[in-house]
């Protein structure tokens, strides 16, 4: 008994069926492989929504994104092509059955998708307004603050889970904001800035304890030095009468050594007496009456007073960078514009004017 022979029509149908199964198996494997890689990329992109990546990281992620999306569209195009190639369905598209067609279709769709995405991105970046740019910077700050120091805010809570990140991604694309639209973005950004500054310079309590309190001690030290300079000035002023008296004694002793006395000088001896007075330390004028004790003492007092004041000013200037009038109390001292300015500068805050 012989088996019935298969005709050419049956063999063609078998070949087509075999090709269909093979193609379907290849597409199944390709789709699963693509889905795996694309899911891996998607997970990374989802994380990047709340990760303050640097520019290189962002651009690399964007490039991979274009490749992955283009590959996915290409794969869908191939599937559409294989669906159309079934001759029983669309007979006039038989040319699609050419062996090279899938390669051309895949290449064209992938390259076209990449070019379209590139073109869209360039145009979008070029046309983005200042509002969108400011919003992006604000969102960058918010994300940086929320991820570096989770503070229980809506953003920090959302950023912690994949579902929340997906919600943030949708929110970014639909509203342009990363925060809840009902929140005031300005105050949220201000809080974020405060949080970031706290990370940089310390919390208010830390700055108070480690910066402000030591600065008060420094101001106190400066006041003590200022008070010491005042005491030195007062001491110098208190010593002036004694110095005046000593100077007069030196002057009269010098005259006595010449056999002269201030009360009994002839006009001929006046120049010598003036010279002796100046040598003793009294800056008297050339027409000074050598018997005029009051003017002698006044000139000595003036010299000593000016000297003491100059020494005080030099000491205070060296201490505070500028002269400061004497006699200030602690409260007056800290309220002085000079002290406020130096203190503010040391703390890094604008001085009160």
């Amino acid at each position: 008994m012989t088996e019935p022979a298969h005709g050419p029509r049956d063999r063609g149908a078998e070949r087509r069926a075999g090709r269909s199964i093979g193609t379907r198996a290849v597409m199944l494997v390709a789709s699963l492989a693509y889905a795996s890689v694309a899911a891996a990329y998607g997970a990374r992109a989802l994380d990047a929504v709340v990760t303050p990546l640097n520019l290189t990281g962002t651009q690399s992620l964007a490039v991979y994104g274009k490749l992955v999306v283009a590959a996915g569209i290409g794969l869908l195009a191939l599937r559409a092509l294989f669906a159309l190639r079934a001759p029983a369905r669309v007979r006039f598209l038989g040319w699609l059955a050419a062996p090279a067609t899938p390669c051309f279709v895949l290449g064209a769709v992938v390259l076209g998708s990449i070019a379209a995405a590139q073109s869209f991105e360039s145009a979008w970046l070029a046309n983005a307004g200042t509002g969108a740019r400011a919003q992006s910077v604000r969102n960058l700050l918010l994300v940086t603050a929320a991820t570096r120091q989770p503070d229980g805010s809506d953003l920090a809570a959302r950023a912690a889970t994949p579902g929340g990140r997906a919600l943030l991604a949708l929110r970014i694309l639909s509203t342009g904001q990363i925060t809840d639209p009902t929140e005031d973005p300005g105050s949220a950004a201000a809080l974020a800035v405060r949080s970031l500054v706290a990370q940089k310079i310390g919390t208010p309590a830390q700055v108070f304890d480690h910066v402000f309190v030591p600065s008060v001690r420094s101001v106190r030290d400066a006041f003590n030095a200022y008070a010491a300079a005042q005491e030195q000035l007062a001491g110098a002023i208190r010593a002036i009468p004694q110095s005046q008296s000593d100077t007069w004694d030196r002057y009269t002793a010098a005259l006595a050594a010449r056999g002269l006395s201030p009360a009994r000088l002839s006009p001929r001896d006046w120049p010598a007496a003036v010279g002796e007075a100046q040598l003793a330390g009294a800056p008297v004028a050339a027409d000074w009456n050598p018997a005029d004790r009051a003017q002698f003492l006044a000139s000595v007092g003036k010299r000593l007073g000016e000297s003491a004041q100059a020494e005080y000013s030099a000491r205070v200037s060296a201490l505070l960078g500028a002269a400061l009038r004497p006699g200030l109390s602690w409260e007056q001292f800290v309220s002085e514009p000079l002290i406020q300015a130096r203190w503010s500068n040391a703390l890094g805050v604008p001085a009160r004017r």
Binding site: V49, A128, P162, L173, F212
Partner: protein, 184 residues
């Protein structure tokens, strides 16, 4: 009523309490430290390259995720269709299974599955169809877990351009911001 001119800065006093210090001096310190970023936000045009970097960071990952997700969903659905076909199921049976799967997917957002009620409520407030947003939010944890499993298990922790985990603490790409954000 005459308005007194606003005084610049804050008066320093040794008698300041922590609360008063926080309100006045610390706020002034924050304002001064944040000056570069305040200037950048007030006038983004002053540094177009920097703000373009922020724009890219802001939109590129979100856009990529939202583009990849439907592609993966479509190709997984087609792969499922292929698997059923390769298993020998006739087209009519496959169509019934597909219809049931589509119906389940369409109504999945009605029930609390993966994410909590708060997240679902947040997703519902977006100016997009709620079934779409809630489904995306519902699917995201599974999608992320699967993607991370592939990335760490099969792709050797490949990072798609941002491999270094420590990059999370690195600069953000805007010089003025980076200088400002860098720890003192």
């Amino acid at each position: 009523m005459e308005q007194r001119p606003r005084r610049a800065g804050a008066a320093l006093s040794p008698e300041l309490t922590l609360a008063a210090f926080s309100e006045t001096i610390y706020s002034a310190m924050v304002a001064r430290a944040a000056q570069p970023i305040a200037a950048l936000m007030a006038d983004p045009g002053q540094d177009p390259d920097d703000t373009a970097a922020a724009l890219q960071w802001h939109f590129a990952p979100a856009r990529a995720f939202c583009a990849v997700l439907p592609l993966v969903a479509a190709l997984v659905a087609l792969a499922f269709w292929d698997a059923l076909a390769l298993a020998g199921l006739p087209r009519s049976a496959r169509a019934q299974i597909a219809a049931a799967a589509i119906a389940a997917a369409c109504f999945a957002w009605y029930g609390p599955f993966v994410v909590n009620a708060d997240m679902r409520a947040g997703a519902s407030t977006l100016p997009l169809p709620a079934p779409l947003t809630v489904t995306v939010v519902e699917v995201a944890p599974l999608f992320h877990a699967a993607g991370e499993a592939v990335r760490t298990g099969l792709l050797g922790h490949f990072g798609f351009g941002s491999e270094n985990a420590s990059i999370r603490d690195a600069d953000v790409g805007i010089p003025s911001l980076d200088r400002w954000l860098r720890p003192a």
